[in-house]
């Protein structure tokens, strides 16, 4: 497979921050918050992290794949993708929807 894109599977991401901290280009940005959920039968509510935003700045990314490797939950994966080109550098930063939906439209 051509390693030309890193796709996010947001449902698997636990906001553990590992990828963000290991990225040598510092190009992943993530915001999250915690929520309490009470599961049926559980005695106490438990805290879970909820992902608010997840951005990869592809103008900086060096496609080293470290983020894919370190993610303990396989929430990031290599993907094929059409060329990422833009007339504005800011547009090369992709958020959750682009990181996932672009994956589906990959060719």
């Amino acid at each position: 497979m051509i390693h030309s894109f890193i796709a996010l599977l947001p449902d698997k991401c636990t906001s553990c921050m590992l990828c963000v901290r290991e990225c040598p280009a510092w190009c992943i940005h993530l915001d999250s918050h915690t929520e309490e959920v009470t599961e049926p039968g559980a005695r106490r509510p438990k805290k879970i992290n909820v992902l608010d935003s997840f951005d990869i700045d592809y103008s900086l990314c060096m496609y080293c794949g470290i983020c894919v490797d370190v993610c303990p939950f396989d929430a990031l994966e290599w993907d094929q993708h059409r060329a990422l080109i833009s007339d504005s550098r800011v547009d090369l930063t992709l958020g959750i929807t682009q990181l996932t939906s672009e994956k589906d439209s990959a060719n």
Binding site: I2, S4, P24, A25, W26, D57, Y58, S59, L60, C61, M62, Y63, C64, R82, A83, L84, I85, S86, D87, S88, R89, L92
Partner: protein, 136 residues
């Protein structure tokens, strides 16, 4: 300098600065070897200035004046920032001698993400310029 045109869109010509700045330059060459680019027809080479200048590879502060020199020589040419290095410094974003983005010095018409971007991305970027009606 060498002049090429897109194999499938001969009206789209590129000027390639053959002094390779870094690894990205190889992808431009790969586009040539893959037949995506072919040498421009002789005849109209010298008469028309290039419409696109490709900055591919790592620009260092030491080399910057020479790069800007070339850019200044073709004021009408559109600039393509090819690869992470040219756009932001890329893997060398924290290295003191590296210029963090050619766009600090000259307007960039199209940015191509990748380290390096694939040759197809190079062609796609040229086409996007052509389709925007900017390229002649």
């Amino acid at each position: 300098m060498a002049r090429y045109q897109l194999a499938e869109h001969p009206h789209c010509e590129v000027e390639v600065l053959t002094a390779g700045l870094a690894c990205c330059t190889l992808e431009v060459e790969a586009a040539v070897t893959a037949g995506l680019l072919i040498p421009a027809q002789l005849g109209n080479q010298a008469s028309t200035p290039p419409s696109v200048l490709v900055i591919s590879g790592t620009v260092t502060d030491a080399l910057l004046p020479s790069v800007l020199d070339v850019i200044d020589r073709y004021p009408d040419a559109q600039l393509m920032s090819f690869g992470a290095c040219a756009t932001s410094g890329g893997p060398y974003w924290d290295s003191p001698p590296v210029t963090k983005g050619i766009d600090q010095f000259s307007d960039v018409a199209v940015y191509v993400a990748g380290c390096p971007p694939r040759p197809e991305a190079f062609v796609a970027a040229l086409l996007s310029l052509a389709q925007a009606g900017i390229s002649s």
